[in-house]
């Protein structure tokens, strides 16, 4: 079981609480987690990564085990603690100013 923590706007869209759980078979990577997340909550398609290019949206970050793993390759394994459900993968709306 994988744990994923969502930012407030995406919790509202998906109508869920702070943390959701996902079942993933095979390697636990950014791509496999996001595939499972979007499969379980289709409304999140396009909000975290571009639907056409699959690239992470610029102001979204992925944190795990107090590390920023946003720039890891999509198919790189996430930390073992995430893969075994001990720690959540945090999906974050980046700190940004503006209007």
């Amino acid at each position: 079981m994988i744990r994923v923590e969502l930012p407030a706007h995406l919790r509202t869209l998906a109508r869920v609480g702070r943390e959701v759980t996902l079942e993933i078979e095979g390697p636990v990577t950014q791509r496999s987690v996001l595939d499972a997340l979007e499969g379980q909550y289709p409304v999140l398609r396009g909000t975290i990564r571009d639907q056409a290019t699959q690239r992470r949206r610029p102001f979204v970050r992925f944190f795990a085990c107090e590390q920023d793993v946003s720039h890891e390759l999509p198919d790189a394994p996430l930390p073992e603690a995430v893969a075994i459900g001990a720690e959540p993968l945090l999906i974050i709306g980046a700190m940004a100013g503006g209007a």
């Binding site: 706007h9 869209l13 909000t47 571009d50 639907q51 949206r57 102001f59 940004a96």
Partner: protein
Amino acid sequence: MSGVRVLVGTRKGAFVLSSDGRREEWDISGPHFAGWEIYHLKGSPADQNRVYASQSGGWFGQLIQRSDDGGTTWTPVGNSFTYDGIPGTHQWFDGTQHPWEFPRVWHLEPSPSDPNTVYAGVEDAALFRSTDGGQNWVELSGLRQHSSGAAWQPGAGGMCLHTILLDPGNSQRIVVAISAAGAFRSDDAGTTWRPINRGLRSEGIPDQDAEVGHCVHNLAMHPSRPEVLFMQKHWDVMRSDNGGELWHEISGNLPSDFGFPIAVHAHEPETVYVVPIKSDSQHFPPDGRLRVYRSRSGGNEWEALTNGLPQRDCYVNVLRDAMAVDTLDSCGIYFGTTGGQVYASPDGGDTWTAIVRDLPAVLSVEVQTLP
């Protein structure tokens, strides 16, 4: 009793303002989609309960929301806007070629006759259509693939398709406007397109009367006379009497012919409204006085409408999609400002009252007239 529903998109959410036909007491609901930019909401002319909304933000991209109960509850529908084929490139600010990219939907235009058919004008400029209530979107790519497409370039607000006019008597005709490419028309339901910019002159482009490259801000049309089009351009207020084949200037005695929205009275096709703005670099009313200007002669002769509007120290802007009219017997005119006010006039512009004063910056205003 009849009534109106004013749909307001703002920088931080959507609001629905409701009143009976007197338009004196207002009920305000919202914010819907709090924290998100709502570039546009619009109701279906064929079903008063069907409303579409464009929800976007810098963090999490674009969603489309649909309401089937007049804006009380909402359901996210499809948000996959994929350009047809290999998108290619268009001209960028620095003159280089830049890939077509989709950041957001600027305008949603529901069909006059089918609640499930709705058009979306997007940035980077393209027109999409859904025929299943917003679930799936298909690009009408003949527009973007027009031979001039690679030469289009963005205005300061982005290269957006912001205006869509559907002829209620001729489903084959669609008119759109793109900043900063100009106006385009299709007479085969969106398959093929051609520019309709003859008569426009723009000092900001090297060939001032070029076929494309004009920064059209907004178009308006009275449904009974679709051949007559009104345009607020970056500078100049323009009119065409032949569906855009040729335009002529009708700025007349306006204090400034820069501005964003333009609207036509619901029952008087020659009565037109604009909100003059000082200049392209000073986006506020001339002299700090917020004035709507009305022409009852189809242009050229304009009168200032000031009763109830601030006449000193006012430095708000009124954006291109932020003015609309209702169709009650005494036509109501509505507009929203970047200062968060939504003003209503129940008497065609003679008197104005702020329905609400302190919303986030208003991006769009549309009106539904309820039976």
